[in-house]
């Protein structure tokens, strides 16, 4: 590996790898309080994106992000598809529209808000949003990557004690308490993987 490695394909590889090695664990989390498919759902999505990584790497970043989002939406299905898809589509659109002066992380607040609208969810509902909000806070106060990753994982752990109000886990009522939310976990894992990559290969 070398520092001139192209950013997007590298990030895609990193995300693909972390999902591949954690798919079973995500499935198990989802089996406890959902329907057990979050691992295979995320894997299906990440594999399609991975297969297109070179082509995606050749696109301008806004288009690439939108394209990734659309790929996720059309391959994942379930709850994860529209949510992760919306996040990336909105970041791409934000960038293209010149939001946040073209700084990628500055597009996060509006993209996360779009995810919350799509999911009709709030902080504390025990979903991947709880991690997204934590990441957004950390990023906006310009925490270094390692710290952002730590915030994300800690937010995911915080979902353990929550009672789910959204998603399949909400059907379990109090029985959802005591388990980490699978979407929060995948979101923290992806964040960690992205942050590690950015530390190793800081973008020019």
């Amino acid at each position: 590996m070398h520092a001139s490695r192209p950013l997007l394909p590298g990030l895609i590889e990193a995300c693909h790898a972390v999902i591949a090695s954690n798919a079973d664990h995500l499935g198990e989390l989802d089996r406890a309080i959902g329907d057990g498919d979050h691992g295979t759902n995320m894997k299906r999505g990440s594999e399609v994106v991975y297969a297109e990584r070179d082509q995606l790497g050749s696109l301008p970043l806004p288009e690439a992000l939108e394209k990734i989002g659309m790929l996720l939406v059309t391959t994942i299905g379930g709850a994860a598809g529209p949510l992760y898809g919306t996040l990336l589509i909105e970041m791409g659109r934000g960038l293209r529209a010149g939001r946040g002066n073209g700084v990628l992380v500055e597009t996060l607040p509006q993209a996360v808000a779009a995810v919350a609208r799509r999911g009709r969810a709030q902080a504390g509902d025990k979903t991947l949003l709880d991690v997204l909000y934590a990441v957004q806070r950390a990023v906006l106060k310009q925490s270094p990557p390692a710290e952002v990753a730590a915030y994300a994982m800690s937010a995911a752990r915080d979902t353990i004690s929550m009672k789910a109000l959204r998603g399949r886990a909400s059907f379990l009522g109090d029985r959802s308490i005591g388990h980490m939310d699978p979407g929060a976990c995948s979101c923290a894992l992806l964040t960690g993987s992205i942050c590690r990559f950015l530390e190793e290969f800081p973008p020019a």
Partner: protein
């Protein structure tokens, strides 16, 4: 786990392929196999489209045909279909009077169908949605996903399908759908978990004397585990909860639907139907219509659910209306 399949990856596609071949003439694949539609569309009728994760067969594909659905979109096992599938179905089946999407209340299903609806609307089409939420095991809190949709979905699709066939316009149809949903409640019990293709074990394991009360149709755990009981007792536990949640006045006509989850034999479903019917009649409701069978399943889960739907005269009429689909047929 022993399953009749060639591999987990091809399970859904091969099963749907067999389904379409077994019922060709009645149904066909849409372009790219993104959905299954009825062979002959009716011009000027509101298109009624549903769908959801695979694993609930014969729902929804088994309900495609005259008097019920125009198309059904199937996702991966227990995973909502994607917006492009639903959009393709809308584009194929909208013959000018708009489309009503019948969606079970799961966040995944809601979001994917909603994205499709938005895309179709952006393309200038009239699309509306009805959300089914009949499971009393999942009570609605002020700020939550609410009750999930289970076997009552069949009833909504039948009644809406018949009404659409009769020429009812989109807005009225949506109102009828909402009214129908409001008058349906269900509850399920499992005596064994589901085994997902490719999975190594059942979604939950029960002891030889245990049952899981308040289960849905995704092999997920229910609300409480308890000791297995005889038929009378289980019928009481299910029917009483459903009757209580229905808040129907005495003397009302109801549809009693006993639904198997996939591996419960017909003999046991009929026995439970008899036991439930006694309970329902003891509550001064009139069982005016009945349905017994494994229509809304959870792969090979062992167990069943009971659904009650209050039917007014219109409801009875649309329930009785002719239906000609792979899995429901009457009245021709």
């Amino acid at each position: 786990m022993k399953k009749f399949m060639n591999g987990a990856d091809t399970f859904v596609a091969e099963s749907l392929d067999g389904f379409v071949r077994a019922h060709d003439g009645l149904v066909m694949f849409g372009p790219g196999r993104k959905f299954i539609r009825r062979t002959h569309l009716k011009k000027g009728k509101v298109a009624v489209i549903s769908g959801g994760g695979a694993g609930h067969e014969p729902m929804h594909v088994g309900f495609v045909g005259h008097g019920m659905l125009d198309a059904a979109c199937t996702g991966h096992v227990f995973t909502s279909p994607t917006p492009d599938q639903v959009l393709a179905a809308i584009e194929a089946c909208d013959t000018g009077a708009g489309t009503l999407l019948v969606v079970k209340n799961y966040d995944g299903d809601v979001m994917n169908f909603e994205m499709a609806a938005e895309l179709a609307q952006a393309g200038g089409r009239s699309v509306d949605m009805v959300f089914v939420n009949d499971d009393v095991a999942t009570e609605a809190a002020p700020r939550s996903t609410g009750r999930r949709g289970v076997a009552g979905t069949l009833v909504v699709e039948k009644i809406i399908g018949a009404a659409a066939e009769s020429g009812m316009p989109l807005e009225t149809l949506k109102r009828l759908g909402e009214k129908t949903v409001a008058a349906i409640r269900s509850k399920g019990v499992a005596i064994g978990g589901a085994t997902v293709p490719g999975g190594v074990s059942a979604t939950f394991a029960l002891g030889p004397d245990e049952m899981e009360m308040g289960v849905g149709i995704h092999g997920e755990p229910g609300r409480a585990r308890s000791a297995f009981q005889n038929a009378e007792t289980i019928a009481g536990l299910l029917a009483d909860d459903v009757i209580r949640a229905l808040v129907a006045e005495r003397g009302r006509d109801v549809l009693l639907f006993v639904n198997g989850f996939g591996s419960t034999p017909a003999s046991e479903l009929y026995l439970m139907y008899g036991a439930m019917r006694k309970r329902v009649e003891a509550s001064d409701l009139v069982v005016a219509r009945s349905l017994v069978g494994s229509y809304v399943t959870s792969l090979d889960m062992a167990g069943l659910s009971v659904t009650l739907a209050v039917l007014d005269a219109t409801g009875c009429e649309f329930w009785d209306a002719p239906v000609l689909t792979p899995s429901l047929r009457w009245g021709h």
